[in-house]
Symmetry: C2
Subunit: 396 residues, 2 copies
Amino acid sequence: MRRMTARPANAHQARLLKLLRDGGPNSRAQLGDQVDLSRSKLAVEVDRLLETGLVVADGLAASRGGRRSHNIRLAPNLRFLGVDIGATSVDVAVTNAELEVLGHLNQPMDVREGPVAVFEQVLAMAAKLRATGLAEGFDGAGIGVPGPVRFPEGVPVAPPIMPGWDGFPVREALSQELGCPVMVDNDVNLMAMGEQHAGVARSVGDFLCIKIGTGIGCGIVVGGEVHRGTTGSAGDIGHIQAVPDGRPCACGNRGCLEAHFSGAALARDALEAAQQGLSAELASRLETNGGLTAVDVAAAAAAGDATSLDLIREGGTRTGQVIAGLVSFFNPGLVVIGGGVTGLGHTLLAAIRTQVYRQSLPLATGNLPIVLGELGPNAGVIGAARLISDHLFSPA
Amino acid sequence: MRRMTARPANAHQARLLKLLRDGGPNSRAQLGDQVDLSRSKLAVEVDRLLETGLVVADGLAASRGGRRSHNIRLAPNLRFLGVDIGATSVDVAVTNAELEVLGHLNQPMDVREGPVAVFEQVLAMAAKLRATGLAEGFDGAGIGVPGPVRFPEGVPVAPPIMPGWDGFPVREALSQELGCPVMVDNDVNLMAMGEQHAGVARSVGDFLCIKIGTGIGCGIVVGGEVHRGTTGSAGDIGHIQAVPDGRPCACGNRGCLEAHFSGAALARDALEAAQQGLSAELASRLETNGGLTAVDVAAAAAAGDATSLDLIREGGTRTGQVIAGLVSFFNPGLVVIGGGVTGLGHTLLAAIRTQVYRQSLPLATGNLPIVLGELGPNAGVIGAARLISDHLFSPA
DNA sequence: CAATCTTTCTCCACTCACAGGACAAAGGCG
DNA sequence: CGCCTTTGTCCTGTGAGTGGAGAAAGATTG
């Protein structure tokens, strides 16, 4: 079926659409309070939006002592698809125009299988979501990939952990398959946008969003906008040196943060500890599962396993060292910690905090909250939906 | 005397003023090519600017095959004062509206003497410049201080190397004394703005500007705008840890970059080397001057002194380590090295480059120039003039 | 030297965005 | 039932901005 063909015709309309997206249904009067336009001009623009079908007027709100107002809201049948491709799993979600998640699927997967295989799976998941009746079709899709992206073209570039993706025209290919506009970004940037839209970073202009999953990355938001850097690799902090002459890293250097702490590094360290008999807890889990992941370490730590706690604390300290440098440099108003290892929770957070508050300048840390992300696995897909809606809700 | 009372009345006028500032005199037709306005509207705005006296029409340009055009230029009697307060010296310069330096004074001074003493000296220098006939008065002044600044208010905050300045209302005080609008910023940010306006960073949107003087700082430019951070301390990279458990630093931590390399650290290391008899060259300079500074090390290195070269190389390597992290994080399109130690020149630059290219991600360094600043001691004062002119050439 | 072409600049009529006030619609409250 | 409040619509005036028709001033050419 044919969907959302219209786009806002001017900046006013774009502004109104974003207000309705972020603030929910509103009367004309309420919109007028937020938008600094005369009521007449506002009425004209709202009428035009109604004509396009992007917004609808349904029902009357309760009276507040005078004439009842019409409810103006974004078209209730608009649907966005949010896709978050991780190193080892995919998240796919459907949202409405207000970016509320209506349905969410998660499946294990290996990015290294390449774009064709992955997209097959993504499309199958999208179809499954559609089959539940949540969506008749998609008006736009946002997609995050675990590596640098040439943003304007929507093409991954030189992604270290996803060979076979380099230069693959993700945006174009997916747009063809889905029959709707698509925007592509780094998964970490999308997580940052998600937390900014609906999570802990609402109303913060400058913040950092550290995502610790299989690898480590950092979303950078400056003045409300994501900073992607000259080649799209901004925020790639996994290969900052955390330990001089430390462990060898896949990138060829030594002592990279990612080599010392990340989902992958943690799993490896846990395996080592289990095999060396340092932790009965981990050893028993190894036997049961036939392998160890960060989740096992989290569970062991929760059960009081000293080795696991030590691993987490040391990782947090390493991460904190790097973050301390970034905080001194960037002077953010907030640091958000998220990603797969959020399960490590407050042990990790405490270690990071200790290190940052100890090592960064007092002026930079004085009023600096360091908190866990609020949205968990939803952050990425909400960010993806936000990305495409920002695009579609801008003048063509 | 009363000076420049007018400000641009709208964004068009502001745009035109900035075009004239950055591109020099122009005809109406040439302006029209750059500004996407109809000739008629353009003529209206230019006329209004002429009325305010901010711009003047003087003389006719040579014909290019048709009617000769009028030269439109910024009022030739406009004067900006650029002040760059360093840790150990002050630079004061006068520029015209095109930000060309008409006169420049430099004097040794110690910031720690406090704002009152320093401003006395600054005002005396400004008066001296004025006495030469370069300026009848100042239409605005920009001033850089070596520490974090609460930018909107123009007040230094918690400056580590300049006790006595904390909370001093620099902007207001200087505005009173000079009788013109004043803007205050961190000296490093001004250096970045200077290199952006007239130096190596022209036409680069995202870049880092590392200033190595008595201390070390970094100007951050994102999308053409200086990023100052939440509390104004962004770019304060001197206290990022460069060496784990390294030298004690004045800030209370160990291994800070500044403790291992900076003008002050270099002087200290040179003194140590001279006293231990490691370098005859440095020892003789110590005897002659009664002390050593970074300049002596630069001269000794130029004369082939191995110890000095080693000191510079090691410092460059340390600095490069930190910059490598920042490059991975920020992914700039250019890195500029400047400040007092630019005299260390290519030895330093080579060491920094080696380290950055070795340690940062290939995608981030692939096309990344790392260069010395072009403006030397002028960078700060030009940046200061640029700061205030940006302010005055914006709608009131 | 006149006729013609170029370039620059000015003038004028027309369009459109927008503000702001008058007014109508719709409800609450005494 | 009259009066007040809130919401929404209509209409007119204003000012920004466009685009075209020339006028001004010089170069070029037969």
